[in-house]
């Protein structure tokens, strides 16, 4: 399968959108484009599994390399392994759900869907890149459309949030840029020629001094995307001001770019430094998990609740990566997928509620279950998944991270694991409280009685995301099988530890 089609499809959809004026045509094109993305990603999944089943154990499948800026050692290299396939699948789910949820977007709908398609092209490009330059290129593509999405279509303090998000993420990519350049100039593929090629860097031993300087830069840079404490402050503002589809994209895909980058680029290419800095990563991740959970308890706005809980949940991703063992990293990957689906569903439900009631404050809601049973059920299910109820994907992912984390004997690791586990209790408190106050109980606002339940498009979106969550929750083994071999492959490098 030619992977380039994953980038070309959204770009063509985006360009096609420019030729239409009517809302009906525009959303039809957007729906067709995003359905195509989902179909393509399923084709990718099936061909990938078929290849693996037929005994192809290459690190990257569907590998292709087109020479690009040859004098600098840049090539447009693409390829996927199980981790990137699952990320692509996640993106396709979230994008389609996002288009469905924004079905009624009337304000500048063409521009809105154009930017959304553009963003998805950036995400796919990021996940299939095997060249650090193109990886960085797609990482940055996925930043600026968000500025416009939040600033133009958002709510609340949208200009402030849009600017904050754009600047913090750009600062992240500035760190990544320096980290990648440092990495580049410490590679050598003979005669002092440098390369941006991912696979050939992975085979080299970058000297430790360089790693010690550039690992933190790359990790913090990607970490800003993935809500690394204390650089998480863009998350609550950005998510809560964004329009529903953009929130879903932000939390569902964008933050995963960070986690994926931390794992794939920083940790995988500079493993020795990762071992040196692992305690700090774990410290920051634990703080993020606990701080995020407690900060969520204080929130009264539904979107802020989900945004802060995202900080907490993404902490698990970084915790898993910081543990540097196979189980924990597999857990981190699963947590990325699980959180992507779950939080997208959560934001979709909040968006639906907000669209009808025009408020997101918990205190002004209540008894929604009687008025809009479908949306309320979605909301509760997303909440239960968030607090790690068995049967949903959140439980599987977090459990795997904890199992990996418990393999470390040192006191500090133990402490971090126990504290992170304990945060689940806090999660239960805020989820149940938010759900209880806004969904259950008596109807607070009599005007809410006249509101309708979800429409077909919203139901489709919710069912789509829900199916992902439940399938992973009930049958986690297929996802584990998908990523298992490739996490093993990563461990060949990551297991390399120079420091005794």
């Amino acid at each position: 399968m030619n992977l380039h089609i994953l980038i070309i499809a959204p770009v063509i959809t985006a360009i096609a959108l420019l030729f239409f004026k009517e809302l009906k045509q525009i959303r039809f094109v957007a729906l067709a484009g995003s359905t195509l993305q989902l179909i393509l990603s399923f084709i990718l999944l099936s061909t990938f599994c078929a290849e693996r089943a037929s005994g192809n154990t290459a690190a990257m499948l569907f590998y292709s390399s087109v020479s690009w800026f040859a004098p600098l050692g840049i090539a447009f290299t693409t390829g996927v392994d199980g981790i990137s396939v699952s990320m692509i699948l996640l993106s396709a789910f979230v994008v389609l759900a996002g288009v469905l949820v924004s079905w009624k977007m009337e304000k500048m709908s063409r521009e809105f869907f154009f930017l959304l398609m553009f963003l998805s092209a950036g995400a796919y490009g990021f996940f299939i890149s095997l060249d650090l330059f193109t990886l960085f290129f797609f990482l940055e593509i996925a930043v600026i459309p968000k500025f416009l999405l939040i600033g133009v279509w958002g709510s609340g303090r949208k200009e402030y949030s849009a600017m904050k998000l754009a600047l913090m993420l750009m600062a992240g990519s500035a760190f990544v840029l320096v980290g990648l350049l440092g990495l580049y100039f410490n590679t050598d593929i003979g005669n002092g020629v440098h390369t941006f090629d991912f696979l050939s860097i992975a085979k080299q031993q970058i000297n430790l001094e360089a790693q010690l300087i550039f690992f933190p830069l790359a990790f913090i840079g990607f970490g800003i995307f993935g809500a690394l404490f204390p650089f998480h402050t863009w998350v609550p503002d950005g998510h809560s001001s964004a329009p529903t589809a953009a929130s879903m994209f932000l939390a569902g895909i964008s933050m995963k770019l960070g986690g994926y980058g931390c794992l794939r680029v920083a940790t995988y290419l500079m493993p020795e430094a990762a071992h040196v800095y692992a305690p700090y990563i774990i410290l920051l991740a634990t703080i993020a998990i606990i701080y995020g959970a407690f900060a969520t308890m204080m929130q009264t706005d539904l979107k802020y609740i989900n945004a802060y809980s995202s900080v907490s949940h993404c902490g698990f991703v970084l915790l898993g990566i910081g543990m540097l063992n196979e189980t924990a990293i597999a857990g981190a990957v699963m947590q990325m997928i699980s959180h992507g689906l779950m939080t997208a569903l959560f934001f979709a439900a909040i968006g639906m509620i907000y669209e009808r009631t025009h408020t997101r404050m918990v205190s002004q809601l209540g008894g929604l279950l009687k008025v809009m049973p479908f949306i309320s059920s979605i909301f509760i299910i997303a909440g239960l998944c968030s607090l790690g109820l068995p049967g949903f994907s959140g439980f599987v992912a977090e459990m795997t991270v904890f199992m990996g984390a418990w393999q470390h004997q040192e006191t500090m690791y133990r402490l971090a694991t126990i504290l992170s586990c304990a945060s689940i209790v806090v999660t239960a408190v805020y989820i149940l409280r938010a759900a209880g106050k806004s969904i259950m109980g008596p109807i607070v606002n009599k005007e809410h009685l006249s509101l309708g339940d979800a429409t077909w498009n919203e139901k489709t979106a919710a069912v789509l995301l829900l199916s992902g969550i439940v399938v992973i929750g009930i049958a986690p083994f297929w996802l584990q099988d998908l990523i298992h071999a490739d996490v093993n492959g990563l461990m060949v490098n990551i297991g390399r530890n120079l420091i005794p």
């Binding site: 800026f69 840049i74 290129f137 500025f147 600033g151 350049l181």
Partner: protein
């Protein structure tokens, strides 16, 4: 022999021909500002630009005083492109101006001077070219004849360029004194790095710093841009800067390569100052021309980072970046020219709510600003990335980190304009503006350039094959 001469000086002779043509047309015609006249001049500039690609030969004239090779051809073509774009964009402005022929004559003579400067293999020709390129600009800066701040701009321009020329001449004479030659090839051989030579070199460097408006020699820039007509501000910030930067690279890399340790320190200091100060001042500007002036100062800082690398990739990325910079900056200036010519509004606040009435122009402005800020998939991203890559090759990651952080700062002020256009409400937004044929063509060229130049690695490889490092 005659034919060879014509061929070697092709670019210059074409421009001379254009100059005389306009002069005769001006004297001969009764009507000064007929529409057909503008079509003619733009067509001629287009032909001039296209001819720049034909019959290119390598060679030298007058004992190596005038040198031409493929790299210089390319640089001249880039300047020709800038000239054409500016002429197209200036149409709404010159259409109603009494002295349109003079406007074009001055513009062309300035470019002619730059061509001589680019081809010079001798300090005297270099100096004459430099002066020929600067003095018409002072007249052009003063081209809004009835505005007082325009004459202030002209005055500041002439004073600062006279001062910098004086410093440059001082350097030139000291270099002549210590090496006994004006010829670039001879100077390179005679450089020993003695204190007097270094002093002379610093003088020369400061002269360049003035022309490139590096900090702390930038004080003239913003005032001149503000007072001058927008097209001239565009010309100053794009064509004029590019020409000087091209020469600067050549002079540093091939003439003063033995003083690399000296100029690396100078570049390091001025790059940090230029990026930092340019950005800090751009943050607070309210006038869009002043804003673009300071942002172009910051851009020069990034170019300096690239130059400091000293490798073959450095020269490549500087030329590549400047080509991209022509497209992106002229895209932004084109919108400002149109708005200024039709409404007279030049404040950033006037651009609030611009998108509601002028969606097309807003997108052009946005894409150009994104390219200036270095956001993919615009070409600016590639340009900036390669500049920083070139700069990092010396292993000075402090400088690269500083530049990278400043890209974020610059992002803030570029996004501020985007925010004003798309998000801020405005009671009286600028009414719909018709772009007209000429600026329309220029916008199409700029947009195509911004989108295609970045992806075209062939162009980069081609420039790479022409350039050389230290």
């Amino acid at each position: 022999m005659m034919f060879e001469f014509l061929n070697i000086m092709k670019h210059e002779l074409l421009l001379c021909f254009l100059l005389f043509f306009i002069l005769i047309a001006k004297i001969g015609s009764k009507e000064e500002n007929s529409p057909s006249w503008h079509v003619m001049i733009n067509l001629l500039l287009l032909i001039n630009f296209l001819l720049g690609f034909c019959y290119n030969v390598d060679g030298e004239l007058f004992n190596g005083m005038f040198v031409i090779n493929d790299l210089v051809h390319l640089e001249k073509n880039i300047l020709n492109l800038g000239l054409l774009l500016i002429s197209l964009q200036a149409h709404p402005y010159t259409r109603n101006h009494h002295h349109a022929p003079e406007f074009y004559m001055l513009l062309i003579s300035s470019v002619l001077g730059m061509f001589f400067m680019l081809s010079s293999g001798h300090l005297l020709l270099f100096y004459i070219g430099l002066e020929l390129s600067t003095i018409p600009l002072a007249a052009l800066a003063n081209f809004n004849l009835n505005k007082s701040n325009s004459s202030e701009a002209g005055m500041k321009m002439i004073m600062s360029s006279a001062f910098s020329s004086a410093l440059l001449l001082m350097g030139v004479s000291l270099i002549y004194g210590t090496t006994g030659s004006f010829s670039f090839g001879e100077i390179t051989l005679q450089l020993t790095g003695s204190p007097l030579q270094i002093f002379a070199f610093v003088m020369l460097f400061v002269g360049f710093a003035f022309k490139l408006s590096m900090v702390p020699f930038h004080f003239w820039t913003a005032d001149v841009y503000e007072g001058a007509p927008v097209s001239i501000a565009a010309f100053l910030s794009v064509v004029s800067k590019s020409a000087i930067a091209f020469v600067f690279v050549t002079v540093l890399y091939s003439v003063f390569e033995s003083l690399v340790s000296t100029w690396y320190i100078l570049l390091f200091i001025t790059a940090v100052l230029t990026i930092g100060v340019g950005n800090l001042f751009a943050l607070r500007q309210q006038n869009i021309k002043r804003f673009l002036a300071f942002s172009s100062i910051a851009q020069i800082g990034f170019i300096l980072v690239g130059i400091s690398g000293g490798s073959q990739e450095s020269e490549t990325s500087v030329i590549y970046f400047l080509l991209i910079y022509v497209f992106s900056n002229l895209g932004a200036f084109g919108v400002v020219t149109l708005v200024s010519a039709q409404t007279g509004k030049e404040s950033i606040n006037d651009y609030k709510g611009f998108y509601k009435r002028n969606p097309g122009l807003s997108w052009i402005m946005t894409i150009s600003l994104f390219s200036l800020a270095g956001i993919p998939p615009t070409a600016g991203f590639f340009g900036k990335f390669f500049l920083l890559t070139a700069g990092a090759s010396t292993g000075n990651y402090l400088l690269i980190s500083f530049a990278a952080i400043n890209m974020v700062v610059s992002m803030y002020y570029y996004l501020r304009i985007v925010k004003a256009m798309f998000m801020d409400p405005n009671e009286q937004p600028i009414p719909p503006i018709l772009s007209g044929l000429f600026p329309g063509i220029a916008f199409v060229i700029c947009l195509l350039g911004i989108i295609l130049t970045g992806f075209s690695s062939d162009l980069y490889t081609y420039i790479h094959s022409l350039s050389s490092g230290i």
